[in-house]
């Protein structure tokens, strides 16, 4: 089973990689915003972070989850809003995939 800490570590790695490539300063912890006015991540940066995170999750846990799915897009509060929210959402998708 995917541990919350492992998922968070994978996501923070992706945010770190993005920050290095984009040359932006980002304080990376579970409260780091990925969306909105307070976020240092631009829209294309978010695409790259989500894409990289999905690849790492699927590789690490031998899964086939798609983070940007219909359910995510229709949620009242976006699961992409922060490191904590996206970590939690990935964990939820992995649990659902395992139960299916």
């Amino acid at each position: 089973m995917a541990s919350h800490e492992r998922l968070k570590s994978l996501l923070m790695e992706c945010v770190r990689e993005y920050a290095e490539q984009a040359g932006v300063q980002v304080k990376i912890d579970e409260n780091t915003p990925l969306l909105g006015a307070d976020s240092a991540v631009d829209s294309l940066g978010l695409v790259m972070i989500v894409t990289g995170f999905e690849a790492k999750v699927n590789e690490t846990f031998d899964s086939g989850i798609v983070l940007a799915n219909e359910s995510a897009m229709s949620m009242r509060r976006s699961p992409f809003r922060s490191v904590a929210a996206l970590t939690e959402y990935a964990g939820q998708l992995l649990r659902e995939a395992k139960a299916a």
Binding site: L44, A55, G64
Partner: protein, 240 residues
């Protein structure tokens, strides 16, 4: 030297959809024999038995199945370099007698399948900053070919999709183009009357049926590693 004939220091992979017959089958045979790691898919089995070929029986519009296939590609250890969205379905009918089910079927295979495969392939390509995607349109789009309203609508969507995705992936080392073949003698046009086909061929700039080599030459150009500044293009074989 062309990609098809190029021996690579590190084997990369290519995904081809619609590989059970016709052009897709020929593409598989061509690329495995040139040293590529090839992954293919179709709704039925494949007759190709080669150590460098892996076949998936799936519907390209089945998102979970396609995601799984690209997951297997990722795990193969041969980084994904190219995607050829060859899978397609055609239908010839006057719009007044076209069932809705025909539109739904063609939309799923031609458009939805292309979109899902592009998305999953691009996820791997952008992370490597390297990749080539080739979709398949049709000259029927520029001819606004009567009797094929539904088919033309789906292929027009593929061509428009290609142009937009090319812009979205342009900064990531991934080119996205489309080859829009003129009629090639495959199962796709088997049911079309000969007179209609002749009239269609005569509308082309170069008046002959297309051949596999014509498609292969265009692919060799588009897949070449040095072809990194050609994107968002629709190549109408035979000339519009």
């Amino acid at each position: 030297m062309t990609p098809a004939s190029q021996k690579k220091e590190r084997q990369e992979s290519i995904v081809i959809t619609g590989t059970s017959r016709g052009i897709g089958l020929q593409l598989v045979e061509k690329y495995v024999n040139c040293g590529w790691r090839v992954f293919g898919c179709s709704r039925g089995p494949s007759e190709v038995k080669h150590k460098s070929y892996t076949h998936f029986e799936l519907d390209v519009a089945d998102e979970p199945a396609v995601v799984k296939m690209f997951g297997e590609v990722r795990k193969s250890g041969a980084p994904l370099y190219a995607l050829l969205n060859n899978a397609g379905s055609a239908s010839m009918n006057h719009v007044l007698t076209t069932p809705v089910a025909t539109m739904e079927k063609l939309w799923r295979v031609n458009v939805l399948g292309t979109m899902i495969c592009c998305r999953e392939a691009a996820k791997q390509m952008v992370l490597r900053r390297r990749g080539r995607i080739v979709n398949f349109g049709s000259v029927a789009v520029v001819y606004a070919l009567e009797g094929e309203a539904v088919y033309v609508a789906t292929k027009a969507a593929v061509e428009a999709f290609t142009r937009v995705v090319a812009r979205e992936l342009g900064d990531y080392g991934v080119t996205v183009n489309a080859i829009s073949p003129n009629p090639v003698k495959t199962d796709l046009i088997a049911g079309v009357p000969a007179a209609k086909m002749t009239a269609l061929v005569n509308r082309q700039s170069i008046k002959r049926y297309g051949e596999f080599k014509d498609i292969m030459q265009a692919l060799d150009y588009l897949l070449h590693p040095d072809t990194d500044f050609t994107t968002g293009q629709i190549i109408y074989l035979g000339g519009p």
